[in-house]
């Protein structure tokens, strides 16, 4: 027993993380199209850092 609480809990978490991820990735795509090529070097920046 307790499934009626477990299922919504996992569902809400999935929707929250999934929705956040999708929205973030979409924003990333839209932004990278706007930023000029030479300013999109964040990957190298990031790789150096981590």
């Amino acid at each position: 027993m307790g499934w009626e609480y477990v299922i919504p809990g996992y569902l809400i978490a999935a929707v929250a993380i999934g929705g956040y991820t999708l929205q973030m990735l979409r924003r990333g795509r839209a932004l990278s199209a706007r930023v000029p090529e030479e300013r999109r070097r964040f990957l190298a920046e990031k790789a150096d850092k981590t």
Binding site: G2, Y5, I17, A44
Partner: protein, 259 residues
């Protein structure tokens, strides 16, 4: 490389042969992403199917495989990153740490929200009510508002440098406050009644312990993946602003020419 105002020349000369992609992914984050997905699926399998129900709490205990790890990640990892990022930003003025602090706080608040919802859903069958003035749940709710305020400051429409500095101060003071809130609330409820629930008290067999551990690892990997991507989006935003600035400067100087 964390120069707040990188010169145009430096960027042009550093234009590598490798072309930047049109999204925020990279080889390493793709590996991390696949790992996160595999972990998530296995966590679901273990948490919802493989583990047996707990002796007294039955199936509602399964919520804790999600609740506890997301609490740990947000309260102990995410906001600590925000704290460290804020301190380093104030010392070195590096945009990198400012953006990292913001990214970690945002994902941290998301996880804290999940902690709250799963906590309340777990509370209903366990306590009979959604909300019990349990020390953990209560202080989590206050912390949630605390960092929601931090995110609100980061979203203010104002001078970006001033905003970053104020947000950094807030990031440091909020952590201080997080500690005060947690201990005072625990002390408060501790006086009135014993701990309502302690993970250590429940009877967990080997599979359940493994699932709990798996949950902690999974949420950390998911968190890392989210923060890296959120950071990159913020970085792109910063670069878009900087690029817009070059244009704005040219336009501004041209204002006089046609007078």
């Amino acid at each position: 490389m964390n120069d707040p105002a990188p010169s145009q020349d430096a960027f042009e000369s550093a234009l590598a042969a490798r072309t930047a992609p049109l999204h925020t992914g990279s080889k390493s984050t793709r590996v991390l992403g696949v790992l996160a997905l595999v972990l998530l699926v296995s966590l679901l399998a273990f948490a919802l199917v493989i583990t047996p129900p707990e002796v007294s709490q039955r199936d509602s205990f399964r919520l804790l495989y999600l609740h506890v790890p997301s609490a740990i990640v947000s309260l102990y990892v995410a906001f600590a990153i925000t704290l460290v990022g804020s301190i380093i930003y104030l010392r070195k003025q590096s945009v990198f740490w400012d953006l990292l602090a913001g990214a970690a706080a945002e994902v941290g608040v998301l996880f804290l929200g999940i902690t709250l919802v799963t906590g309340m859903l777990w509370g209903k069958p366990t306590w009979g009510v959604y909300w019990q003035w349990d020390p953990r749940l209560t202080s989590t709710a206050v912390s949630f508002v605390l960092y929601a305020g931090y995110l609100a400051v980061r979203k203010l429409d104002m001078d970006p440098v001033v905003r970053s500095r104020r947000a950094a101060v807030l990031g440091i003071v909020s952590f201080l406050n997080l500690i005060i809130v947690r201990y005072s609330v625990q002390w408060w409820r501790g006086l009135h009644q014993g701990q309502t629930f302690d993970v250590a008290d429940t009877q967990m067999d080997g599979v359940m312990l493994f699932t709990a551990l798996l949950g902690v690892i999974t949420m950390h990997v998911v968190f890392a993946w989210l923060v890296i991507h959120r950071f990159r989006v913020a970085w792109l935003e910063h670069q878009a602003d900087e690029a817009g600035l070059d244009v704005a400067l040219r336009e501004r100087r041209a204002e006089g020419a046609n007078v």
